[in-house]
């Protein structure tokens, strides 16, 4: 479903990771680990197609991937319902009521997103993943500012609804989500300091 072969990626013109290879079948997840700055975000952005890889290939069905970063993409001047409906419509879908229940947003759906706490906003951001219906998810620290209960809620959704229904996910996280998933430690994959070919400047 997702195949990555000998991928090298760079951030700001400096190669950060190399020799990344893995394969995910439907229902598989991969946990990325490594110290801050090792290149977890860079790898996820590269896989999501936001920046070009230096070399190597990655392959998944066209239009199947979705990316979620530290920022949630939630508009503070819109209600929770308007936010989720917007993202669903952009992907040509509608918002099922179960999406609110899964992420415990039922009582919040008509609140302005600007009045939510950081953890509640994060839950809206995660609920976005449930409404857009993408099969291959690239998640960057999805549990930041979530409490323990919400982390379990997210892990349950991931296990039962996403992976359980044939999706797959690459998740960068520092905490244990309780998923039955292999871990990829990125530390051995740090690119050599003098590696060349890193310049991705558009105007050179």
């Amino acid at each position: 479903m997702l195949q990555v072969t000998d991928l090298r990626c760079a951030r700001g013109g400096v190669p950060v990771l190399e020799r990344i290879s893995f394969t995910l079948q439907p229902g598989d997840a991969l946990i990325l680990r490594g110290p801050n700055g090792v290149g977890k975000t860079t790898l996820l952005r590269t896989l999501a197609g936001l920046q070009p890889a230096l070399s190597g290939t990655y392959d998944y069905a066209e239009g199947a991937g979705a990316y979620a970063s530290h920022a949630d993409g939630i508009k503070l001047a819109l209600t929770v319902r308007e936010n989720l409906t917007f993202w669903a419509q952009v992907h040509g879908r509608s918002v099922p009521d179960s999406a609110y229940d899964t992420f415990d947003l039922g009582d919040l759906r008509d609140r302005m997103a600007g009045t939510l706490s950081a953890g509640q906003k994060r839950r809206v951001g995660l609920a976005r993943l449930a409404v857009i219906g993408r099969r291959v998810l690239f998640l960057d620290e999805p549990t930041v500012s979530l409490d323990g209960f919400s982390v379990r809620m997210f892990a349950d959704w991931m296990r039962d609804h996403h992976l359980g229904q044939g999706g797959c996910a690459v998740i960068a996280t520092h905490i244990d989500l309780g998923l039955d998933a292999p871990t990829l430690d990125l530390t051995p994959h740090i690119a050599a300091a003098d590696a060349d070919g890193g310049s991705d400047e558009a105007f050179l």
């Binding site: 936001l50 990316y67 970063s69 993409g73 001047a77 308007e82 857009i132 558009a202």
Partner: protein, 218 residues
């Protein structure tokens, strides 16, 4: 794409959305001019088309930096870039929503404000037509400039410097159409040139804007 347009319009009328900012600026400038140059009709009438066009142009410039900056800050932009709508479509929708929130109200407010400047009565229709044809180009060019400076801290000044030279042809032909309309010396030619600029921008700039966004999102 319709969903994106509706969201942007809804955001612009919500708190802090900036709808009316350009319109208020336009109103203030045009109302202040007669105080500055004096109420002499012989002075005001000939400068009215130019003042109205310059004020409309600056008013359109005022809200440009918000076009992509807000979506960049809250992380919506990379999510839109990976969504199934093409980035060219996003660029076009952003320009259209900017035009609806600034260019369109300016077009309808301008004839009312022409009254303050004692504009020649024959010129009103031409003013309406030239703004309706010219302001879409301002929004398209401005969206391109906003895409170039997205992600820069305090990119507003750079944005103005980049965009203002590109606004000049539209300004020249727009104001010229109104001036010629006032003394009935053939306003059609400048009006058509202004429309040609708008159509050219509409055809080309969404692609340039999308390419710029892709580079800036890396």
């Amino acid at each position: 794409m319709i969903a994106l347009l509706l969201r942007d319009l809804r955001l612009s009328i919500r708190a802090g959305g900036g709808f009316g900012l350009g319109l208020a600026f336009f109103l203030i400038v045009v109302v202040l001019v007669p105080f500055g140059v004096g109420p002499d009709r012989a002075v005001l009438t000939p400068i009215a088309p130019g003042i109205l066009w310059v004020a409309a142009l600056l008013a359109a410039l005022l809200s440009l930096d918000r076009i992509f900056a807000l979506d960049f800050e809250d992380g919506s932009l990379p999510l839109l870039a990976t969504a199934p709508i093409p980035l060219e479509g996003v660029a076009l929708v952003k320009a259209v929503s900017h035009w609806i929130t600034t260019g369109l109200p300016l077009t309808f407010a301008a004839p009312l404000l022409g009254f303050f400047l004692n504009m020649a009565p024959e010129a009103y229709l031409w003013l309406l037509a030239s703004l309706a044809l010219g302001t879409p180009a301002l929004s398209m060019i401005g969206t391109f400039g906003a895409a170039l400076t997205v992600g820069l801290r305090r990119g507003g000044l750079l944005l103005s410097l980049l965009v203002l030279p590109l606004y000049i042809p539209t300004l020249i032909f727009g104001a010229e159409a109104v001036r010629r309309g006032a003394d009935a010396t053939g306003a059609i030619a400048p009006l058509m040139l202004s429309g040609a600029i708008t159509l050219g921008c509409l055809a080309l700039l969404p692609f340039a804007t999308a390419a710029t966004l892709r580079i800036n999102l890396r």
